[in-house]
Amino acid sequence: MTHHGTLDHAVAELLEAGAVLGLVHPDGTAHAHSWPLARQHRIDDDVLWLRTLISGHRTPAGTPVFPLGDCLRRGIALDSYTVDANEIRFELGSGQVLELRPATSPRELETLELWDVFTLTVLTAQEEDDLDRLDADSWQGRFI
């Protein structure tokens, strides 16, 4: 399926440990924005598909929820990338750079923990499967 075997393996390891996708600021000094990532990925057609996580929280009753309408799959073109020991850098056609790196901040780690609780204890197995496949362009079910 893929000739990006090294990348595939590196991405899997990073995601399993908890990872973040960062958009490097145009001045190159820091991340303009970053998103915790669901522990799922897929590579096809020279595109790496990931799912960025947004806005997880617990309801007043304590149930974890995420707006799945905002936690969409994202495709990174694999035209140019470098795999380092603890980081992967993707250079996009637009000239911008994305970095896949381990989650470190409390907010990132809390989001990932909450996502695990949400997917494993709140979603149905079917919904979980829908997300895992990373093949839909929108979420039409519960939790938009």
């Binding site: 009753a61 994202r74 495709g75 073109a77 609780v117 494993l120 839909a136 362009d137 929108s138």
Partner: protein, 722 residues
């Protein structure tokens, strides 16, 4: 002048006010007087005429009528068009029959617009379909609202009473100051009060011993390992044993409420335990996964502090009392037919950010999510500018809700045909990037200054009305002049821009462009909104289609919800609009969502030759059906739907050119359409490819139940496939 309802200001002492203009301003106004003609009959003005915008004949007539009614009330002059019989956009209940407006809200006077009903593009309905969650779209004049659009939704009353009507839309950032100027926003005008509320909450015993959290931890671990198929680890068994021991130890001394809670959790343990035994082989996706268990809650009465408006006497005259609160959303319920009900009160809470609840009087209220509140909090990007107007119970309030936008200083009348062409031109300039031409760009700049110039002209006509006004009245007077100026200038602005665009595109004149194939300023109604076409594509759709060859536009959908899309709205609707429609509860949005704000207002299609997947897919084999719209943008790659350079994303590579889209190479390309796509009307897909036969049967059943036999021109069983 038409009836017009309330007058903007009463009993002003009349004395001519000095108006000081520079010689340059005087010349500019004189030029534009001649340009615009008589504001009453449209006759070109001669030298010596027009000091008040009127030709000699109309000035004489106005003088004769002066004793009857001299006050203009914010009408919509047509600038150059012959005077026509005008009639007010009638509220469902005449203003004179409305109950007295309470408190300060009642003291707020706002102009009631007059407009020729034959000129209205979309009349405001008095009988929207009750329960239709997509709502009835309408377009209002001016440029205060995003896309000039509003949606009127009539919910069934949740308690079986009269319907509940809500009008919503997004205020453009440039117009937010108008809304804020109408409100008593000073934090000092809000006072804290303690109120009691009935809420459902967890029992202290549960929270103290973290019983639910222990169940959640065990369930998470068990499901994780069931999914991986690698056996349940020993520590998870230990956690379950510890939880069971905790519950058993608490049971004897527990109250009845607590015993009910403990019993619920013991039931959960009994459900989990068998799945932890070695050899358990129920497939994860076929009953093996531990289902969700909510925390056990009981109804409780608590005291909370809320910020409410200060007593009415503390609110400055002319301002609307407003309360700041955490962002909420209307919380309707959907029945199995996709019909929405609402009780007028129930709302999702803690949606992230802050909003104002505004008293409009007479049972009307508004909710506005500002960019920045008086307390420095913001609504989240995708929600900023969102405005709801909520009517008292009952039907037929649509026109009155539109009229009450005037209380918020917003243009409060339906869009006229002249304005539709202005909007159409603006959309086409954006879509075709026509402003990259220097001539078009300079004309657009000149058109903007025309508003200011005409405003000076209008002020010179009406300056005497300002005598004796207090500050608030003066502020409103200035706004009414601005609105009138915009309306007067519009026909000329439209003519200027149309001519510039025509010249750039090689047409002989603006009229020649207007007469050309594909040029149609009237918007098309889709499900819950209107769309304008772009005339370059509409002029020759076959040529655009031919560029794509066998390539299609497509959108992959989560498989099990295709039927719901047709059941609820019949549209592929952008996330933010689905939330406000109440199709699904919106969930809180944190900082992280800001970057995707553009994404929540669009739907994302791709171009190519897609392979089949387990999920469902909508396919447009004729891309022009969608690309004729003037509201899409695209990237040959994933830009996270960035509509503008925000949050660090570059818009480098953004295109609105169908020819470039046809040549996109990346499979992660994105073509982003505002609001959504009407799946059962003129934008219907050529194929709805379902992931399974049962999905297909569900979709066909829903369409048949709704009486839909064809999508596009083809029978539904040919369009819906596996």
């Amino acid at each position: 002048m038409g009836s017009g309802g309330q007058k903007a200001h009463e009993a002003i002492a009349i004395a001519p006010a000095p108006v000081y203009l520079t010689s340059a301003q005087s010349e500019m106004i004189a030029d534009h007087e001649a340009l615009l003609g008589c504001t009453s009959c449209g006759t070109p003005l001669d030298d010596g005429e027009g000091w008040n915008g009127l030709c000699g004949n109309c000035a004489d007539k106005a003088e004769a009528d002066d004793g009857l009614d001299t006050e203009q009330t914010g009408g919509a002059p047509t600038g150059g068009a012959p005077a026509v019989e005008v009639e007010a956009v009638s509220p469902a209940t005449p203003a004179s029959e409305l109950p007295a407006t309470p408190d300060n809200a009642g003291s707020i006077d706002f102009a009631t617009p007059t407009i020729d009903s034959s000129e209205v593009v979309t009349p405001v309905p008095t009988d929207p379909v009750v329960g239709d969650m997509a709502g009835h779209p309408l377009i209002v004049g001016g440029e205060d609202l995003d896309d000039s659009s509003l949606t009127l939704v009539a919910y069934q009353d949740a308690n079986g009473g009269a319907s509940r009507e809500v009008l919503y839309g997004w205020v453009n950032p440039e117009a937010e100051h108008k809304v804020l100027d109408a409100l008593a926003l000073d934090e000092e005008k809000l006072v804290p009060v303690e109120v009691t509320k009935d809420i459902n909450g967890r029992l202290p015993l549960d929270e103290q011993h973290q019983l639910y959290e222990q169940i959640e931890t065990v369930a998470k671990s068990v499901n994780y390992h069931l999914k991986k198929g690698d056996g349940i680890p020993e520590h998870t068994h230990g956690n379950l044993d510890k939880l069971q021991a905790s519950i058993n130890g608490l049971y004897d001394s527990a109250t009845d409420d607590e015993k009910e809670m403990l019993g619920t959790y013991l039931g959960a343990i009994e459900q989990i335990a068998p799945k932890m035994t070695p050899g358990y082989d129920e497939p994860y996706t076929a009953g093996g996964k531990i289902p969700h268990l909510d925390p056990h809650t009981v109804a409780q009465t608590v005291t909370v502090t809320e910020m409410v408006p200060a007593p009415a006497e503390d609110i400055p005259a002319g301002l609307l009392p407003a309360t700041i609160r955490d962002t909420t959303r209307i919380k309707p319920t959907l029945d199995s037919e996709g019909q929405g009900s609402w009780d007028g009160k129930n709302r999702y809470t803690k949606e992230g950010g802050k909003e104002y609840r505004i008293e409009l009087g007479d049972g009307y209220e508004a909710v506005y999510r500002p960019t920045t509140t008086a307390t420095g909090n913001s609504a989240k990007v995708g929600q900023r500018g969102f405005l709801e107007v909520i009517a008292p119970a009952g039907a037929g309030h649509g026109p009155e809700m539109v009229r009450r936008l005037g209380q918020l200083n917003l243009v409060n009348r339906p869009m006229t045909a002249a304005e539709a062409e202005w909007t159409y031109l603006q959309r086409n300039v954006w879509a075709q990037r026509l402003d990259q031409d220097a001539g078009v760009a300079s004309t657009l700049t000149a058109a903007k200054t025309l508003d200011d110039t005409v405003a000076e002209l209008v002020f010179s006509e009406k300056a005497n009305q300002a005598i004796g006004m207090n500050d608030t009245e003066l502020a409103r007077f200035a706004k009414s002049i601005q609105l009138e100026a915009e309306a007067r200038a519009l026909p000329e602005k439209t003519r200027m821009v149309r001519a510039a665009v025509a010249k750039h595109l090689g047409y002989e004149s603006g009229d020649a462009l207007a007469a050309s194939p594909g040029y149609n300023p009237m918007p098309r109604r889709t499900v819950g909104w209107y769309s304008w076409d772009r005339f370059d594509v509409a002029a020759n759709p076959d040529a655009t289609t031919a560029r794509f060859g066998n390539r299609v536009l497509y959108h992959r959908v989560t498989g099990n919800n295709v039927a719901d899309m047709f059941r609820n709205s019949g549209a592929l609707v952008a996330t933010e609009r689905r939330r406000v429609m109440g199709i699904q509860p919106g969930l809180g949005m944190s900082e992280g969502s800001d970057m995707t704000s553009g994404g929540s207002r669009v739907v994302d299609l791709r171009v190519g030759s897609p392979s089949s997947t387990k999920g469902a897919m909508m396919i447009w084999k004729n891309p022009t059906r969608l690309l004729r719209r003037a509201d899409w943008y695209a990237y040959d790659g994933d830009h996270f739907a960035a509509s503008a350079s925000e949050g660090g994303w570059s818009t480098h590579g953004q295109t609105r050119d169908p020819a470039k889209v046809a040549k996109f190479k990346k499979s992660n390309n994105e073509i982003l359409f505002r609001n959504g796509i009407d799946l059962t009307g003129s934008e219907a897909p050529d194929q709805i490819k379902c992931g399974s036969a049962s999905q297909r049967a569900d979709v066909l059943a829903v369409l048949t139940h709704k009486g839909i036999t064809h999508l596009g021109s083809r029978p539904i069983d040919k369009v819906v496939t596996t």
